[in-house]
Subunit: 406 residues, 4 copies
């Protein structure tokens, strides 16, 4: 029956004027990075529920990540977090990754868990602490160098909890000063991805509180600095896809941290709460890829797609697979937008037709397409079922409870 | 100079038609309960910064709370949390409290930190877990009985993270079933205060998600059940003072958990972000006390004012004193509203005059008033300065780091 | 090809254990009421863009509504708004409707456009104005009687713009007093649907500000009073489907005003911004229909589904068709949820499986199903295309600009 | 008694280390522009309540504005809106203004009320409409030239209501193209103030949706372009004072549209909902004035303070006076912050002391100070009482109903 479903699908899409081969090529080229910390325990401030079988060290995290790549075929790199993934010999970690078919992705510094950072890290009024934080960033550049990673992600938790607690302007200057030093240390092929966040853990002001602040910082640093959009880091109601389009147009969109949320930075499985938003983000990216000037297109091609979620009550590996599949599904749907049709309707200012041309693709069932793509990629047609049937979950139970967490 | 400041204040208020003696009587009668857990370490999901000197056990928490009462004179009771404050002999704890001039306030069960509660407690689809949670509630009733407390606070963290995860309606039934059992165990003088929360730690639905759900639950249980308003547990923009007025009118407002927030449940020092909102809450309460029917007035008289904050970066005792003083200050201002003037303007539908009559009191400086009230109560005129000068902070440094936390 | 698509669809759903005949029966039974005012001009406070061809009177509004029913087959009733649809002879309007295959649906009073209502209507401190508003409500009951309508909708715009402007509690009493009078006038078969709204046009407090206030009012009035949920009338982040489930369980959900929004009460085409939310609302309703006690099931069966949107920049009739089709589509998807599968996963507390069981249905393409249902109902397979091809839009251009508006 | 109150105040502030003479100098230098449209009728999309006595033409608007200046002494300029204030002879309008002691302030184009603008103005995909909109902007530059105004305010209502409706990137390019043309036409002393808005009237995306987009646009245009912050144009929870500090530091803060809100762009009387936020905005400005580099200080000195509110239910002139006084009050309080004390506490990372040093000033009653400042400025000590006693309200009743509105 899958054959007939796909045959029907091909005919439907061909009738709609979609170049399915191009769609499949793009689907096969999609790469989604998973985070090492997504395999360990996490939770809320009220409770971390420890799960049996979470990895006990960076090496085991890569083993788990390899399972996700094995069944999906689109997760060949793994982001690491220093010092959570600090090892004596990064080459060994890289070789371990390679032996599993993986590479080391973005290097993520940790500027929020040291006692010294109670009042900030790169923005701390204490120069010694700023220096310490800067050196940690430089250490991460070195790790990137050693692991052949070209991405340095910066999530800066710095901020204040009360009006008057600190000088917003001074901290802005300190931040730029520190990042300039880090930027100078980047290799030519490296990029610094600057994340922003609306709030938490800071509850009055966050030094990089929105895309505008991250963008302005990147502007001042140079071309190797770009903005990282975490889909859960915005005020309620924010049009995230507009920010994506805007940053793309400025050639300053570096990557994503995908997750989903209903309230704050809930860090749930990607696409679980409002899948249409994820689809619309991809619509903006594909639209840019299709008609923008060369620089914008190139920016769009180089976007780093990364998962960053904190699933507290679900088993880790399946939750990660689920997120990856949700991204793949919405990306597939967005690829089925007939952009020429959208633009023709936009040209005529036909609101309903233009909206419908976008929405139509979202309503399609892309299961037959994804199954064929997976077959052609040599991965299981149903990745989740394949994982559940693999016995891996049972195998790692031997690790017991109390593995890695943050 | 303070004398002249107060003399001037008396004249001003007398000119405004304020009965200052009544104001002072009410100020002296104000009681604010502090929470035992507010003296221990707390933090965000990203980091708990441990402080030197936090109490190591329930007894030391009461000692710290006694400092707050000593300098403010208005914090004679302390809420406890089971099992954080579980002791072998509650009579001993009560005696310890009494020896410090304190009583044990609301008993707070913990239905969120046990591994069994990963999918809920009173609403868990597993009957055995619901039973366990119910029994914990009953244990708390017993603690209340033993400690002569008349208040059982219920914050129910139960909820789900994903659409479809559980049956919202079934959980609603289970909740009512469990609470009915608890309610039957209450002594006649006890009240069950039902808290609600918009979100966190549940990120899709929270079983008691807003005042309407808490109110409806209280309605079904009986007169000894009332709603507990935590000022940080609402959607952005919610008019909290309207909920206060509404619940008062239904004789169903049981108490407050005071704290402040800018974003989500930030749990900052009370009144630090939007002091006017706190003032407006007291305006509604005083308005009800002044003109409502007897049942409403009685409800207003019995409101339990409790602090519930999670100050992560400030020293614990001073942060608590600061919250208490902020509550006292806004209450004092609200007492200076000339309600007759407000009502006369309302009667004439003079929007500007009515708004101005309320606002005028907020703009007053109540320092001279509070100083005199404190003098008359025999507590330090400047409680914060008195605490800082007391040497207590230095003394408790001997406790070291790693005290109580949640 | 449609035949093969449907054959494939039947096989897929049969394999999933779905009873497609029941699905089709339910789909054919779905009724969505459109609002007379949705055919006229509307806009924002900044501008009403007048469109050519909008109806000039209530009779023409019904003619337009008949077009929507003609192509969709599921919109047989039309809500009216008094005085916008005030006519000398309501029997004549009813006959006109009947001649078009329509009935008159909910009667909507207008309590916000008279100069007298600047400070409120049913809650105005001026007794004469409260009386006038109450009499307008009674007039609407009379219109309902005359037009054989069984629904009285109440959207109360009352509220205040400033702290202190009016007594929240007094207004609450006045409201109940007035509604009691209206309630007494209801015929036994009539229902009073009480709407609530977070804000606008009142910007400080709204007398019926959330579901809790509407529910409490309905409780006090009696069984013929129920709550009306407008999907755009909530604080950001509110879990609307939880409110739906909650009210259903209390047998107090009377109906919906469907529209969609990203920010405030944007009143856009239904399902245009977050279609998943609409699907999840239907999931809750179908879940209740499938397993709840008789009273809840009966409540669910009697829900009045109504569109209430204010499309400012789109042509009126197509925008209405689009909304109707979006509701139908999401309802069809929700009908394809395998509830037994969901419950089995819930029973096992398998979060991912339960979520997936709900989500799977959302990802289906229901086009083949809807096409067959439409064929069997004798309406166009593609309602929008049928309308656009009908020449009706061209015909009504003769009406010119300057038709009905609010 | 006022004398003794002020004497006491002087002593208190002197004890606190405040240079009261400097405070008074700054207070006397404060200028707040009122908007011509704030004197006419306005409302919500549901209803514009017409008031008796609103001005019937631009000349009468200036007469009303003169009353505000007469009693406050700090509102010497009036913003005008074209075409609402279009006159044949702008010199005549300017002379009329001058004869009333007023000047013409910012020129505000209207890019949202023409039928052509249904799908946007400067961002419309129709080139002819973009051209028309650009020419209207150029006309406003000409008006500025003619009226000796140095400010052109741009509030761009452009946006879309639906995903896919238009190309976000294309519209961004069109906007910049148009603004470049306008920018070239500016006289050297003119500034273009670029406003942003979260939403409304556009409900999906707004072309200038946040400060980042406005800032980026200003960056690309040049030094004469700056950002205009409307305090009601942000997502819920946004830290407005941080944006102020940030833009100041970039020397790109041009001015304010003051108003207040609880929900969306409610456009209420300034400071009515959260006065502390207004105070904190001034704290950031005064902090920059006190210690920043020369360019930042100069930016801070040149901020254009403008009221922009839409009071629907209050009498116009008193509501404007109230807003002006609220701004003045919060500014006065902010001037009483002991910045040296704040910075010393910040230096020591003493969170509570730093917060307290800011907050202390907010709790002061500045009435005695403002009264003396007014006396010294030769304006009424109680501006509202002076206006109400002036008989002006009665005099303008002769204008009747149906005056200017938007």
């Amino acid at each position: 029956m899958n054959d007939s479903a796909y045959a029907l699908f091909v005919q439907q899409q061909t009738d709609r004027g979609i170049d399915l081969e191009q769609v499949k090529t793009r689907l096969k080229a999609l790469k989604i990075e998973t985070p090492s910390w997504g395999y360990g325990d996490s939770g809320t401030r009220f409770k971390v529920f420890q799960q049996v079988g979470v990895p006990r060290n960076p090496f085991e995290k890569f083993e788990d990540a390899a399972q996700v790549h094995r069944v999906t075929g689109i997760c060949p790199s793994v982001a690491i977090h220093i010092p959570w993934d600090k090892v004596e010999d990064y080459k060994q970690l890289q070789q371990h990754a390679a032996s599993l078919g993986l590479t080391i992705g973005a290097i993520n510094p940790n500027l929020f868990q040291d006692d010294d950072y109670i009042f900030g890290s790169l923005c701390n009024s204490n120069q010694a602490i700023r220096k310490k934080a800067t050196e940690h960033m430089l250490e991460c550049v070195a790790v990137a160098r050693e692991t052949s990673s070209s991405l340095l992600s910066l999530w800066l938790a710095d901020g204040t909890n009360y009006p008057g607690q600190a000088s917003i302007r001074q901290r802005k200057h300190w931040l730029l000063e520190a990042l300039n030093e880090v930027y100078q240390a980047l290799e030519p092929q490296m990029r610094l991805l600057i994340e922003y966040k609306f709030f938490e853990p800071a509850f009055y002001h966050t030094d990089l509180g929105d895309w505008g602040m991250a963008y302005n910082t990147a502007l001042k640093l140079g071309k190797q600095a770009q903005v990282l959009v975490d889909t859960g880091h915005h005020a309620q109601g924010t049009n995230v896809e507009q920010i994506v389009a805007y940053l793309l147009d400025e050639q300053c969109l570096g990557g994503f941290h995908f997750n989903s949320r209903k309230y704050a930075d809930d860090d749930l499985i990607v696409g679980a709460i409002n899948p249409y938003e994820l689809f619309l983000i991809f619509y903006q990216i594909l639209d840019a890829l299709s008609d923008a000037e060369a620089g914008v297109r190139q920016t769009a091609e180089n976007i780093a797609y990364m998962i960053d979620q904190s699933h507290c009550i679900e088993p880790k590996i399946p939750a990660m697979i689920r997120s990856v599949l949700n991204v793949q599904t919405q990306y597939a749907k967005a690829l089925l937008i007939n952009l020429a049709e959208v633009r023709a309707a936009q040209e005529k200012q036909d609101v309903l037709a233009a909206e419908n041309a976008v929405r139509t693709a979202f309503e399609l069932d892309v299961t037959p397409l994804l199954q064929v793509v997976r077959e052609e990629m040599g991965v299981p047609v149903d990745p989740m079922a394949a994982y559940l049937a693999s016995g891996y979950a049972e195998k790692i139970r031997a690790r017991g409870k109390g593995g890695a967490s943050w």
